[in-house]
């Protein structure tokens, strides 16, 4: 399980709002499973399932501590998403630049 490709791709992992919220909460530091389940009204088994998806996408790491499992954020796979967003950003920046050329051409006509 430790080597090779993640079992779940990062886009699928992020497609769910509960999982995004879990990641947001882990930004401030690791949290235990029961603490994490708190505040979601979907029940602990459902939260556990989401945690497993995030773990398989390598976005979080699991660490047993006594009877609790603790979860750590690992943001590295997010670079893929960042690249995706950057592509759209650049696409639109180019379109907006071409728009200016068209506006200039139109302004010259009148």
């Amino acid at each position: 399980m430790m080597a090779g490709m993640p079992d779940v791709d990062v886009f699928s992992a992020l497609a769910n709002p509960v999982r995004r919220e879990i990641l947001m909460r882990l930004r401030t530091g690791p949290q235990g499973a029961s603490e994490l389940a708190h505040g979601f009204d979907i029940g602990r088994p459902a939260v556990s399932e989401h945690l497993q998806v995030l773990r398989k996408a390598r976005l979080i790491r699991e660490q047993p501590r006594g009877r609790e499992r603790y979860y750590h954020l690992d943001p590295r796979p997010l670079s893929k998403v960042h690249a995706w967003i950057e592509a759209f950003d650049k696409y639109w920046q180019k379109r907006l630049a071409v728009l200016e050329e068209v506006l200039n051409e139109e302004a010259k006509k009148s």
């Binding site: 699928s12 992020l14 180019k94 728009l99």
Partner: protein
């Protein structure tokens, strides 16, 4: 992380809102800076934008506030996103704000579109270089 599914871009133009509004809503002008299609500033109007190798994308106008706001569904049944253009007067010119939202990160088509856009950059760059000898 929710912001991951929203793309924003903006640019200030030395042109009045009316000129930009026309470029957003007039098919002839629209085709020159983005895509050909029967775009019209009428709420409920359905049109298609010809995105070249990604095919014609179904769109539908959602909101129209002349020279202020233009919002439409973009690529319905495909990317399923919403595009909003906002025009804000700024000095002698206009600030144009784009919000492109509603991406389903889980959809293979979203990712395909991303791949397509990556491939399209060099061509767009060439066009920009060619246009750069013009005014400004």
């Amino acid at each position: 992380m929710t912001a991951a599914a929203v793309i924003r871009a903006e640019r200030v133009y030395p042109h009045p809102p009316g000129a930009i509004w026309k470029a957003l809503t007039d098919p002839e002008l629209h085709a020159r800076w983005w895509a050909a299609g029967d775009v019209r500033p009428i709420v409920g109007h359905r049109f298609e934008l010809d995105m070249g190798k990604w095919g014609k994308q179904a769109c539908q106008v959602l909101n129209v506030e002349p020279e202020r706001l233009f919002r439409y569904r973009f690529a319905t049944g495909n990317l399923d996103t919403i595009i909003t253009w906002e025009l804000v007067p700024e000095g002698q010119g206009t600030r144009l704000r784009l919000t492109h939202e509603g991406f389903d990160l889980d959809s293979p088509l979203s990712r395909q579109a991303f791949e397509g856009m990556k491939g399209g950059w060099p061509k767009v760059l060439q066009r920009l270089e060619a246009a750069a000898v013009g005014p400004d």
